[in-house]
Each structure stands twice: as structure tokens, then as C-alpha cells.
Subunit: 348 residues, 2 copies
């Protein structure tokens, strides 16, 4: 089959690899119907050292179950499924607590330890299929808008939702979202769904922030750094009680610290591209700021988010503004990297 | 009057200074009945550069109101009062929200901007007296155990309580407390009062950890660093859901990160002696750890904590194990620095 590999910064190739097969009795094989490129895929696309073997790519996909191992009971061949970006057993303490990203048996796609490959491919072997996959009563030939919406549930919508949930958004909240990528825009949508009254979106790309306004942003701040901080502090008369950080670079974190109100919450879902950052008296401690967030356990949110997606009353799939064939995945990376595309869907 | 000044690392002097007087109509003058030395006073005691003028010291005291400004209505001359370690107006947004440490008009003792001096003195001018001081129906000649308990409400008991409240301790919680100083021990007491079932205390001083056991610790871990992390992870089968950090040095933070369970809460009240620290994928982000805490708004907790203190059913004052006369305050610092004393009371 064809699958996407990254061989080093900027070097995406779609190559022939052996077809995946059932290896464990809990496995399922899923034929990919739609996959996509994530903002977090751009981090290795910018910085990965060249490797001879390349790294399998992609962690967001929807598809149809082709085959299941002997112990799989929750899905059957022919089922249309959403694959969250974390593999999870569904039964350990953390899965039961709704923190599937910390599953003791699970892991992520493209994880050598777990033996998983990536979703930007024709098919994927899914370990722990009962815990991981979510069957949905949808036909793979459903309309594109619905498929796009379902695909966001594998990561970006659940990630935006996680940001808002961890941020403690409730009816009437004032929230600032940093980042106008797909996750930031869906954090806006999520905050709105959770009842936020004032949603300030920080982003510089008008096409994106316009979609953010449609998703519920009440204000847009295009400035960054000190000017952005000053603008948000003025809009929120002294700081935003809740800040959702959907970028992951250190300047975005520093911006978040600059705009959060004393006693407020800074919820991160952008994968941090730094390890150390300011958290002392002058940043988080003095004003009693709470820092929270992490990789979203999107599996935990699926049952809650699905009905409105299926009914079409929320349309998170609008973040996709380009589709490429699997063999053109490299063009998808380039378009997202150039910011010519917000989020690129891959159609095998 | 006599007052305590620090002139540089290790150089504590009790000197003659002008008597404080009413400067603003909202001021009160408080004659100090008891003050004390805080673990956080030891930070400048270790590191302050020599200064010609010295720095006024002390931020914990109880006393009797001597005189009030024209606009003061909440306390009168003769009232016995507790002075929280933060000066606060009581009416701004943050005071009303119970975050008096972020009061827009307030500040701390020994703050040049606010014009306040310190509590390790015969008397103190208290700005914003209506918001700051808490009158208590107690005689200044009450028994020493009661005075000691009331004195902890100016800082260390409220700070331990804040750690536990921000940590989200509820009935049945498993909690680990890092640090066997007065704040750590009172975090144990607070966690117990809030219903924690399992309380692991990390500390190496048997006399202190013994008091910790009396306050409610169910386990004591004397090891530090990797050995301490391994011991707590074993005791808590994989990590502590709630960790209260009552030290403030970077190794204590790193220890906290090492023992907190995925999805757990790390609540800090030890004043950080660092600004940057690990918070990326490998520390807080990956396992969805929440980091919270800060300077305790002890004023917010006083009404809740006072009744049991007055009734004698909790005895937080047991953290005091030495008393010095005001002129001997330097000996108090030395005893705490040598760890010969847990917490030193100062009697003017």
C-alpha cells in the first residue's frame, strides 16, 4: 500500500510499504477513508534530522474496518470508525477516568514501541481496537462536509474542546484563544458551545479569524507580543480570566502569561516546543495563575460531541480548506507550512 | 521603637526606628503582641546583598489596635487583631473574589511602594485597615497556645490551607506534601481537615515529621530526589493525584513533577526561588498535570478557619517550638536557619 513518510525537514514522500495485517487478537485493520495533516506534523517537518528509513506520518483518520482480531468485540468489518489520535485500552484506570492519552497499555500512532504506523496511508493496523475506535452510523460515501466534521473528531475538535474544558469555560465566561490554526478556531467553537460570552481570538490571518468569528469569536486581536498583550488586557479590562493556548511555541506561552488575569487559568493544547519556561513569582506564582492542559483525550469527548456533528448543528469540518490525494500529501504539508492552507485533508 | 532589619545575608539587627504613626485616614496602628520568623524570611537571610540602610523584616503578627485613622470603621482601639501577610482593601474585584494577594490597592509588608514596614517590631502602621485586619474576641493575655494558633492564621496555616484548597483535596483524597517546615506541616493538617484519607509527608527531620503524623500524615518518606520519587510512586501505586509543594526550591518542584500522577494537580505555596522550570511534554504537558497555587489569600480563609482555632479543636500553633524576645530576633533567624528550631515566635 501507499503511505506517507518524512525523511527529514521538508522531505515528505509517499512510498510503497507492506500492507498492514492483524498481529494481535485485539487489533483491527482500518482502510482509511480520509486523513489529514496536523499543525503538529509541521514541527518535525521544520526540524527533523535526515534519516535513511524515514518516519511514518499522520495521526488523524476516519475509515472502514476491514478485518478484526479474534478478541475484538466493539467493532466489526464494514463499520465506519473514527480513530482518535491516541491508542487506548478503554479499561485501565486512566481510560476509565477519561484520560486515554495516559492509558497504561496505549500510546500514539507512529510509535515504535507500540508498533503503530501512521494515518496518512491507505490502511492502518489499530491495536487495542475495542478501546480505541469509535464506530459511527455513517456511510463512507456520506457528504464531504460530514466526513470533514467527523475527521476533526480524531484530533483538532476534541483538542479545542479539551482546551476549553480544562480552562473551565462555563456560561458567561470571558476567554482568549491564542492561535488561529484549526485547534485555535475549534477552541473558539468549543468555548462558544460551553457558553462563553466574550471570546477574544488572537490571530493574524483574516480568512482564519473570519471563520473564528463565525465560530463565535466576539473580538479579534491581530497584534502579537507586547502589543497583543496590551490589546487583550484593554479589551478584558485587566486580563483574561481564561486563556487557551493553541500554538505550542514559547512566545505564545509568554503571550498567554501576559494576558491572563490574576487568579485565572492558562490551558495549553498546543504541543510545547520548549521544556523550560517561566513559572515563578513574576509569571504564574505571584498572581495565582493555574496552568493546565495537555494532549487531549479526544476519545473521552466523542460521545458528547458526536450528536451535534451528526445533526449538522456544529460544523467543525469547516477548518478544512484543501484536499489532496494521498500521493500529493507532500503538497499538503507545503501548503500548510506556507499558510496557503489552514488544514489539508488527505484522500487515499 | 525597636524593629528588625536585615542588612545583608546573615546580618539581622534590631534597631531603634521612629514610632509609626497614622498617615492615611484608612490606617490603623497596631501594637504587636506576637510576631514570628517565616521560612521565606530565610531566603534573603541567605542571599541578600549588603545594604547600608537595611530592609525592614517580618510579615506575620497579631496585636492590639492602638489608634485608627478617621475613615476606619471595622476595628477600634483596643481590638485584638490578626494581620494577614497581605494588605488588602477588601472591596476591589480581587478582594471580593477571595484573592486578596492580588488586591489592586494593597501589597505586602515591607513594601516601599506601599510604605509599609515589618511585623518583627513593637508596632506596625497598617494601611487599608478595614480590609486587612481581622478583629478576634481574644485577650492579649490569653494562653500561649491560643496566641500561637492565632499567629499561624497570619500566614502559615492559611498558606497550608491554600495549598490544599488549590490542590483540590476532598474527602478520600490521596495527597503528598513536600516539605516538613511549618507550611508543609500545616498543609498536612489542612488536607486532613478537608478529608484526605492518605497523606504522604516528605521530610527528613523526625521531630517535624512526628508532628506531621499527629497532624494527619499517614506515611512519611525521608528520601529525596529519585529515591524519594520512587518511594512515593510505590506508596501511591504510580503517583500521587495531588502534590502540595511547600518548599520553593527547584529540586522540590522537580520532585513534585516526579511524583504527581497523570491527570493530577501540583499545588505550590513555597515561594519559588526560580523563574524558569520544566513544563513541557516531558514534565507537565504530556501527562496533563495541572500546576496551581501562589501566595495564599489568607484573609479569605480566616472566617472559615477561626472557629476551630478559637475552640481549640485544631492546634496549628504547635509548629512554634521556640520563642525569643524582640531584641533576640537574630537568634531566631539563626535557629531556624540551623534547623534547630522549626518556627520561632518573637515576643516584643
Amino acid at each position: 500500500m501507499r503511505a506517507t513518510y518524512l525523511y527529514g525537514a521538508g522531505d515528505v514522500r509517499v512510498i510503497d510499504v507492506p500492507d498492514p495485517r492483524i498481529e494481535q487478537p485485539g487489533d483491527a485493520l482500518v482502510r482509511v477513508v480520509r486523513a489529514c495533516v496536523c499543525g503538529s506534523d509541521l514541527h518535525p517537518y521544520h526540524s527533523m534530522a535526515h534519516t535513511h528509513d524515514g518516519a511514518s506520518m499522520g495521526h488523524e483518520f476516519i475509515g472502514v474496518v476491514d478485518e478484526v482480531g479474534a478478541e475484538v468485540t466493539a467493532v466489526r468489518p464494514g463499520d465506519f470508525v473514527i480513530a482518535p489520535f491516541a491508542v487506548s485500552c478503554g479499561v485501565c484506570e486512566f481510560c476509565r477516568a477519561g484520560l486515554q492519552t495516559s492509558c497504561v497499555r496505549g500510546g500514539f500512532w507512529n510509535d515504535a514501541g507500540l508498533g503503530t504506523a501512521g494515518g496518512q496511508a491507505e490502511a492502518v493496523r489499530v491495536p487495542l481496537a475495542d478501546g480505541t475506535l469509535v464506530p459511527v452510523p455513517v456511510d463512507e460515501h456520506a457528504d464531504e462536509a460530514l466526513l470533514a466534521a467527523l475527521l476533526t473528531l480524531s484530533d483538532v475538535y476534541g483538542t479545542g474542546w479539551h482546551a476549553a474544558v480544562r480552562g473551565g469555560v462555563t456560561p458567561g465566561s470571558t476567554v482568549t484563544v491564542i492561535g488561529d490554526g484549526a485547534v485555535g478556531l475549534l477552541a473558539v467553537l468549543s468555548a462558544r458551545q460551553l457558553g462563553a460570552e466574550r471570546i477574544v481570538l488572537m490571530g493574524r490571518h483574516t480568512a482564519r479569524t473570519d471563520l473564528g468569528r463565525e465560530f463565535g469569536a466576539t473580538d479579534v486581536v491581530a497584534e502579537r507580543g507586547d502589543a497583543g498583550i496590551a490589546a487583550v488586557r484593554e479589551l478584558t479590562t485587566g486580563g483574561s480570566p481564561i486563556v487557551l493556548e493553541a500554538v505550542g511555541h514559547l512566545p505564545a506561552y509568554e503571550q498567554a502569561v501576559g494576558i491572563v488575569r490574576p487568579g485565572g487559568v492558562l490551558s495549553r493544547v498546543g504541543v510545547p516546543q520548549y521544556e523550560a519556561a517561566p513559572i515563578g513569582f513574576g509569571s504564574l506564582f505571584g498572581p495565582n495563575i493555574t496552568l493546565t492542559g495537555g494532549p487531549a483525550p479526544v476519545r473521552a469527548y466523542l460521545e458528547q460531541l458526536l450528536p451535534a456533528v451528526l445533526a449538522g448543528t456544529v460544523r467543525p469540518g469547516r477548518v478544512f480548506d484543501r484536499t489532496v490525494a494521498l500521493d500529493d500529501t507532500a503538497k499538503g504539508y507545503a501548503a500548510m507550512d506556507d499558510r496557503a492552507a489552514l488544514k489539508v485533508m488527505v484522500r487515499p
